[in-house]
Symmetry: C2
Subunit: 545 residues, 2 copies
Amino acid sequence: TTRKPAGHLAPASFMWSHIARLAPQGLPRIPRALRGVYRSSLALKLGRLGGKMAFVAGAGIAAVGALGMTNGAQAEKKWPIMTRAEISKHKSKEAGVWVTYKEGVYDITEFVAQHPGGESRIMLAAGGAIDPFWSLYQQHLVENVLEILKQYRIGTLSAEEAAETADSSDPYSTDPKRHPALIVHKEKPFNAGTPPQLIPDNFTTPQELWYKRHHHPVPVVDPQTFRLKVEADSGVKGIRELDLSLDTLRKFPKHTVTTTLQCAGNRRAELNALGEKTQGLCWTTGAVSTATWGGVRLRDVLKAAGMDFESPSAKHIWFIGLDPPYDASIPIKKAIDKYGDVLLAYEMNGKDLPRDHGYPVRAIVPGHVAARQVKWVHKVVASQEESHSGWQRGVQYKGFSANIKSFKGVDPSKVASVQELPVQSAICDPPTNSTVSLDEGEVKVRGWAWSGGGRGIVRVDVTADEGKSWTTANLRKLKQEEGREWAWTLWEADLPIPAKDSFQICARAVDTSYNSQPGDVGPLWNLRGILNNSWHKITVKVDKD
Amino acid sequence: TTRKPAGHLAPASFMWSHIARLAPQGLPRIPRALRGVYRSSLALKLGRLGGKMAFVAGAGIAAVGALGMTNGAQAEKKWPIMTRAEISKHKSKEAGVWVTYKEGVYDITEFVAQHPGGESRIMLAAGGAIDPFWSLYQQHLVENVLEILKQYRIGTLSAEEAAETADSSDPYSTDPKRHPALIVHKEKPFNAGTPPQLIPDNFTTPQELWYKRHHHPVPVVDPQTFRLKVEADSGVKGIRELDLSLDTLRKFPKHTVTTTLQCAGNRRAELNALGEKTQGLCWTTGAVSTATWGGVRLRDVLKAAGMDFESPSAKHIWFIGLDPPYDASIPIKKAIDKYGDVLLAYEMNGKDLPRDHGYPVRAIVPGHVAARQVKWVHKVVASQEESHSGWQRGVQYKGFSANIKSFKGVDPSKVASVQELPVQSAICDPPTNSTVSLDEGEVKVRGWAWSGGGRGIVRVDVTADEGKSWTTANLRKLKQEEGREWAWTLWEADLPIPAKDSFQICARAVDTSYNSQPGDVGPLWNLRGILNNSWHKITVKVDKD
C-alpha cells in the first residue's frame, strides 16, 4: 500500500479521480475528439480552486448554439409521445435507463457503462431529465455529445409536461424549483441532501446541489419592503433599535467568508441502521455543503446598535427567521469575535442568496451547526438568555447519552445546545456497494473532512483492511487563518484492492485540536439521531474476473 | 444500574466516595470519636470547592501540639535503629508494610486494610515516610491517630538519615525536594506524575502533588537580578523592547485563571502496551494537574511593547525559558485574545510560583498543551514564524499517523504542532487491578475529564458492561464562561458490580463541541506516543465471598 506523509498539495498537483477515469480504454463509442473535449474542460475546472460552476470553454457555448438544429432535424421523425410518469419507471438496467433532454426521450441503457464521468453519476438522472445535470456539467454541451445521445432516441415528451401549475391552496406551492440530483428525504417541508459522489467535484458547492433543510415553506419576500430589525430584550441595556432596509444593510462594509455548513443530523442513517430508530429525517452523508458568503459582519451591525464590546450586557444573540418563525441563538462571545466571521449574509457564491438559502438575509456562523445559521432573518435580538425556541431549548439540537431511550422525564435544560460541531469526514467515491475491478490494483478514494470551531483538518487516514494499516490521504484545502479554518478539506487516497469478494473502506479525520473521529457508531447513538461523527465506513464489491 | 441525566451538581450535594468508605463497619480498631474527626474534617473539605489543602480544623492543629509529648514518651523505649534502605524493602503485605513518622518506624501491615481513606492510599507511603502525606491530609494530625500508630512501633530511624547533602558536581543537585507520593518516571531531569487516585480529592491540585515534567535541571534564579525581556525578531515591526524586573511586572494589572495543564504524553503507557514501543516516558494517567494562576496578561505586556492588535505583524509569540533553554511558541490569535487568558504568571494557588513550576515567571496558555506553557520564562519574542526549537518544529510535540513507524525520511514541517488538546478523561478510583466486593452491590467510580481550547465537559458516560449500557456521571466543575472552560471537571458514578471474577470499567467524555473520545487506543498509536485520548479502561477484580 502506498503511504504518503500528510501534507497540503498545491491544487495544480492534485489529480482528481475522473482524470484517471477518462483513460480511453473501454469507451469504444466515444470518438477520440470527444475525449479531448472532456479532458480539456476538466483541465479548465482543475485550474479553478474554489471557483464556480461555469468552467465550460467558449467552444462549448458555441456547440450549444448548434444544438437547436440537431434537435430540429430529429423532431421531423414521428417519435411516440411519452409522459414523465412512464419515463420515470425506467431507471434501472433491468427496466431500462431512460432520460429526457429537452423534448427528446432516450433509452441510454447501453451507454451507462461507458459514461466517462462514471456509471453512478449518469444514473442520478435515470428516469428523468438530463438537462439540469448538463447545466451543471457543461462539458456535455458540445455537438459530439449530442451526436452520441441521438443514437438512443426512442420518443418525444408530451407538450403539456413542460407546463407547470402552482396549487395556490398549498403553502408549499410557492417553494422554488429544486435540482433533480438532490436526494430528497422529505418534500414538504423540503429536505434534501447533496448526492455524496458529486461533493468532491467542487470546492464550493453550486447552489443547485446545496443540501436544503427546511422546517417550513420558503417565505416569499418583497425586497422593497423587507426590513431587518435589531433590538434588545428587556434585560439588556445600551442597545438602540435599528430598522434596516436591504439598501441600508448593504452600506455596511462588505465581508466574505468561505465556510462549510452541516446539519446536526448528517449521517443519521447510520444510527438508525443500528436497529433502534432515532427521531428525524434519514440523512445519509449529504447534509453538508460549502459556499462563499458575502454580507455584513454581525459585530458591525451590533456596534451600530451601540453594543459595548468590552463588557456586553447581552449573553446571546438571537436570529429570528420569517418562516413561521424559526429562531435560534448563538453565544455573545462568538457573535462579537473579531475573528469569528459571523455574517448577516446577502450573497452566496457571488450572487443574491437563492430563496432556498435565506433570501434576502441569513445568518452565517462559521464553525457552528447549521441550525444556528438562521435563514430569512428579519430580526436580531440581544438577550441575556438563549433563544426560547424549541430548536434551541428543546430536545431537537441537543446531544443526549445513548442511555436515554425516551424523552419522558428528561429535562433538556440540563443538556448543552449544539453549537460547534465535532470533527467529521465522509467517503464520497466510490459509492457504497459499488463494484471495483481487482485488475485495477488500486481504488482511488475521495471524500471530505471538516471540523467545527474553525479547527482545520490536519490529517485524514484511510484503511481498506479494518485498521491493520492506514494510508494518509492527500488534502486539498483553502488557505484560511489558524483558528478560522471554516471550510472543509477535500481529500483523496489510493488504496490497494484486496482479492476478496468485498471489503470495507474506513476514513477517520484528525483536526487541529487533535480530536479524531470515534471508531464505532454504537456509543454515538442518541434518541435525536444527531452528531454522528464515527469513522465513515463503506462496503465495496470486488470484480475478480 | 442507576442512570442519571447529565447535569452539574452543586458542590453541596456532591458526595465524594470516601464519605461512603467512612461507614463504621469493619473498622474495629478505630474509636468512634476518631471516626467523627475524620468525618468533620472531610465535611470541611467538601465545603471548599477549588480550595487549598489546609482544611484541618482548629482541633486538629491543637492535636499536633500534643504530638511531641506522645512521641517523646515513646522515644524512652530502646527501639532498634533502622535505616531507610532497610525500611524501603517493606512495602507489600508479603514483606510487611513499614512506614516512618518523624524518627519512629512502624509496621502497619495489619492496619492497612482498616485505613479509613482506603488501602490503596496508605500503600502510597509504604516503605517510606508518612509525614509528607499527613501534611497533605492533615486530618491525621490528631491525638487519636497517633495513639493508633504507636501500637505498631518497631524501631527508630538512624539520626544520620535526616541529614541530606547536595552533590555540587551534579547539575541536578540544586533541584528542589519533591513529595514522595509522586510517581517518578525519571529522576534527572525530574519527571513524575500525580498518583491518579489522589487527583479527585482536590479541585486545584496542591503543588506538592502537581505532576512535574522537566527537560533540564531546575534553574536557580535570583529574583533581584531577574529580568523578563520582550522583543521582536527582524520580521516584525512596531515592537519596543521591554526589560522588566519582577517588581515592574507586578505593576501590570493582576489577572487570575484556574486552568488544567496536561502533558501531551499523558497515558503513553497504554500506547506502549499495544506492543510497539513509542518514544518517551511511560506516563500513566497522572500527567495532568490544575491550579489557579496569578500574573499579568500577555496581551497587556504586548500592548505595553506597542503591539497593534488590529493587524499584528507577528504571527507567533515565543516563550524562552532559562533552562538551557527550552522554548516554544503559540499563535498570535491566542496570545492576544481578550478571552484567551494567556498569562505571564508569577503565582500558583496564591503563592509565588514554586521552583518546580517556573519560579519566578512562567507562561500559562489555557486550553493548550503544557509544552507551550514554558516555565522560567525570561524572554518573550514576537515573530512571524513558529519557534525554531525542536520542541516546536521537531517531531516531539507533533501528532503522526499510526502508519509512521520510523522518522527516517519524515518531514515534521508537514505536520501541525500540537497546540490545543483533544477531549480527555480518566478513571482515578478504583485503581486498576484493585478488588471490590460483590456484597457492596455498586462501585463508586471517580475521575476527571477535560478538553482543550476552553471547551467544557458536557457529559461523562461510564460503562461496566463494555458499552451495552452507559451510566451518565455526576459532574463537579467550576463556573467558567462558555469557551473559557479551562479547568477540568471531576466526576463520579455508581456502577453495579457484576457477578464475575473481574470486569472492565470504561469512561468516555464529551465536550461542548460534541467531540467525544475514540473507543480504541489502537488507531491512536503514534511513534511519539502522544495524544492518547481513547476511552480510559481499567480492570477491577471481584471478591465474591
